[in-house]
Symmetry: C2
Subunit: 174 residues, 2 copies
């Protein structure tokens, strides 16, 4: 599928509601376990998404529009939420994500980007040359794959209770 | 995590709202592609979940409670939805799932199962001996892993638009 603004809005706009429906009100048993060292719990993922809204997607899009590939993106800190989420409840993080995503979408839609804009180049500190289109498609994929991760991590909590059934669930070994 | 009725209700009750938030109103571009032959599109998954509510979880739980392991479960048809969903819109399937899951949860909660009930044995046509606890834990995991599948399949639609970014997304190669 080709990237289009409309198709990307359809996902980015709905992610906060999906995460609220999926996680709001759940006890720690469901939201605090992870998949092992340096992996994320559902709680960690929401903090990571908040951090991304503040420091990654919009900041990098602005850099491309202003400086093209003459200025390299800051490295993204995948573990920033371990500090930044401290003392915050899951619901606080979900609500924070809902607010900041909404603000970011208002900004994003107001840009009225053209196809030429989407071809503009940026410089990633590890990946090198990227386009604004690549960045914006990755923003969408990042939402979707983190929802996949959250539900996979939750599913694994019951693996031991399934008796022989896990053999039918390849995803539990991911 | 140990299986408990309360923890399982928390997931099973919310799945219809999660799926509505995730998929309602999306165009075919997002919901009709799959991952290759004999794999499911998001649209297929919702039909599969409807079929499961009608023929799998509740039917098998009733068999365990009535016949124990003296009667073997019917084989589950993983591809039934290809026929049963024909002519139905995604929204029709989402609404059908919402209604039947709600009915099934009313039935499930009214059982007031004890720990002894959860230990009761059933007979799976492929896996052999299972317990009611195994079946009910698998019902929860089945919901969660299909949400993971839906979001993974959707994410893959933009893989070609991400430039060099897919290398950071291991899940896109699942």
């Amino acid at each position: 599928m080709k990237y289009s603004l409309e198709r990307s809005y359809e996902i980015l706009d709905r992610t906060p509601a999906v995460l609220q429906a999926l996680l709001s009100g759940l006890p720690d048993d469901w939201v605090m376990p992870n998949e092992g060292p340096e992996t994320f719990s559902p709680y960690d993922v929401i903090g990571h998404l908040v951090h991304g809204e503040k420091t990654d997607w919009v900041v990098r899009a602005k850099m491309i529009l202003e400086f093209g590939n003459t200025k390299t993106f800051e490295r993204y800190d995948r573990f920033a939420q371990y500090e930044e989420s401290k003392g915050k409840s899951l619901q606080q993080l979900l609500d924070e994500f809902t607010v900041i995503r909404k603000e970011n979408m208002i900004w994003f839609k107001a840009l009225n980007l053209t196809e030429d804009d989407l071809d503009r180049q940026g410089m990633h500190p590890v990946l090198g040359d990227v386009t604004l289109r690549n960045l914006l498609a990755t923003w969408v994929v990042h939402d979707l794959t983190h929802i996949a991760q959250i539900t996979r991590v939750m599913a694994k909590q019951y693996k031991e209770e399934m008796g022989p059934w896990p053999e039918f669930f390849r995803i539990l070994n991911f």
